[in-house]
């Protein structure tokens, strides 16, 4: 016989809060890309201003999670769920911070002459965005296969980051006046690459949530052994 649990309500509430935070982070990321590509400083300012709300959300989720541990002492899949929330929340917060960083660099770029083209940077941004979106979908659906597919895309994003950096280096070598903008764009490439890393970390936790397996650093650990 299955007993209805008061606990399930707490779990649902926590899940709901995390998804709301996820939506806010996706939105910040999308708008940071738009602000960058359309040279929209006003939009960039908005993203920066909204970051406080995401930070508050993180604190709220942390509080709820700790309360739940104190009161319910979760076990098995409940325990893995709570651990996953605690690991995913800071990843989301960091992705939002990086979107904010993109916006800060975008505002600076808008004060400088346009450096065309942005080469692989837009593709990099869209791919990182897709990874974050899919990571959240994998979490909502408890889909470990999707999580694993997202993780494999990280190499692609790393390659795009490297390729973007090489093109920007060429611009810098061609004309020293490009250096300032090219360095800002190099930073931005790195920011998106870090967001994709965040998506990868989220996906590793989704696999843990669903299967109870820690796949983080398994390649490195195997190499050391």
């Amino acid at each position: 016989m299955t007993i209805p649990r008061h606990f399930d309500k707490d779990i649902d509430e926590l899940k709901h809060l995390l998804l709301r935070m996820g939506a806010m982070v996706e939105d910040a990321m999308a708008r940071s890309i738009k602000a960058l590509l359309e040279r929209d400083s006003a939009l960039a300012e908005e993203v920066i201003a909204n970051d406080d709300e995401i930070d508050r959300m993180e604190v709220l989720i942390d509080q709820k999670t700790i309360e739940l541990i104190a009161k319910m002492q979760p076990a098995a899949s409940d325990l893995r769920f709570v651990a996953t929330i605690m690991k995913i929340t800071p990843e989301l917060e960091r992705i939002a911070d990086l979107a904010q960083d993109v916006c800060e660099r975008a505002i600076e770029l808008n004060r400088e002459p346009l450096l065309r083209p942005l080469v692989s940077l837009p593709q990099l941004a869209y791919d990182a965005q897709a990874m974050v979106r899919d990571a959240l979908n994998a979490f909502v659906r408890g889909d470990a296969d999707l999580a694993r597919r997202v993780i494999t895309q990280d190499d692609n994003v790393d390659a795009l980051t490297e390729s973007s950096f090489r093109s920007l280096l060429t611009y810098m070598l061609e004309d020293a006046r490009n250096i300032s903008s090219a360095i800002r764009l190099t930073f931005i490439g790195k920011y998106f690459e870090r967001m994709a890393d965040g998506a990868t970390n989220i996906c590793e936790m989704v696999v843990y949530l669903v299967e109870g397996k820690m796949i983080k650093h398994t390649a490195t650990i195997a190499a050391v052994k």
Binding site: M1, T2, I3, R5, F7, Q73, P74, A75, A76, S77, D78, L79, R80, G212
Partner: protein, 252 residues
């Protein structure tokens, strides 16, 4: 398991015609704590009482299959039940000190075993009470009645009494369920200390207690072992749906 102290195979148990344990297979490791969990009536108490044949006194109780302790079948024809119960001590849910002094309670098993030497008795009684983490609380009133002790102290006295006859295995059937949180944590600390020297099997309804004190956990349900694994596995990532439902409180 290579270092099994107790090795159970195809063990069935009946009360009259009612079969209450079905084909139990369980290897209980030496000098570790093994917890038995499961809903009321799942057979875990019957099982733990089978290990030292406490069920023998119930009329029409019958066992089949084998329980080996160090390779010897406890239900074998040549098994000596008195010696078995010396090697396999037991502590119950409700502390059951005899209406005697603290000293005489701990000395009881030793005297039955024929020990009369006062100095030897004193020595073993001090050691047993120390191991049961009770010595410092009672050393000045060893000849006071055991019934004057608090519930938690009485339970530790029963543990000291079990340890006095130098057992190898200690069975505990819900040893802390009638105690307050402080007394409970003392018993849990004690279990942790004792496992260096004894093989401990504990039945508990308190899942957090099983998680805290045990190395391995067996989940019983309707007279069967549903899952038996490292305690961490049972509480973090159980493989069976029934175990999952039980440890998360979805199932009763």
């Amino acid at each position: 398991m290579t270092d099994a102290k107790i090795s159970v195979s195809n063990f069935d148990f009946y009360y009259g015609t009612a079969k209450v344990l079905h084909g139990i297979n369980l290897d209980i490791p030496d000098r570790k704590v093994t917890a038995l969990i499961g809903p009321s009536g799942c057979g875990k108490s019957t099982f733990i009482r089978s290990i030292n044949r406490m069920n023998d006194i119930i009329p029409e109780a019958r066992a089949s299959g084998t329980i080996l302790i160090d390779g010897q079948d406890v239900y074998g024809g040549s098994a000596d039940v008195v010696e078995l119960r010396r090697r396999v001590g037991m502590v119950f849910q409700k502390s059951n000190p005899f209406p005697k002094s603290i000293y005489d309670n701990v000395a009881y098993g030793l005297r039955i075993g024929g020990m009369r030497n006062k100095r030897q008795l004193d020595e073993i009684i001090e050691r047993s009470l120390t191991r049961a983490a009770l010595w410092h609380e009672v050393k000045d009133r060893l000849h006071a009645s055991a019934l004057a002790l608090s519930g938690g102290q009485q339970q530790r006295l029963c543990i000291a009494r079990a340890l006095a006859v130098d057992p190898e295995v200690v069975l505990m059937d819900e040893p802390a369920s009638a105690l307050d949180p402080i007394a409970t944590s003392k018993i849990e600390e004690l279990i942790y200390e004792l496992k260096d020297n004894y093989t401990i099997v504990i039945v508990t309804h308190n899942m957090q207690q099983a998680a805290r004190v045990s190395d391995r956990t067996a989940f019983f349900m309707l007279g069967r072992v549903i899952e038996y694994a490292e305690t961490n596995e049972i509480f973090m990532n159980p493989q069976e749906k029934m175990t999952e439902d039980y440890v998360t409180g979805r199932f009763g």
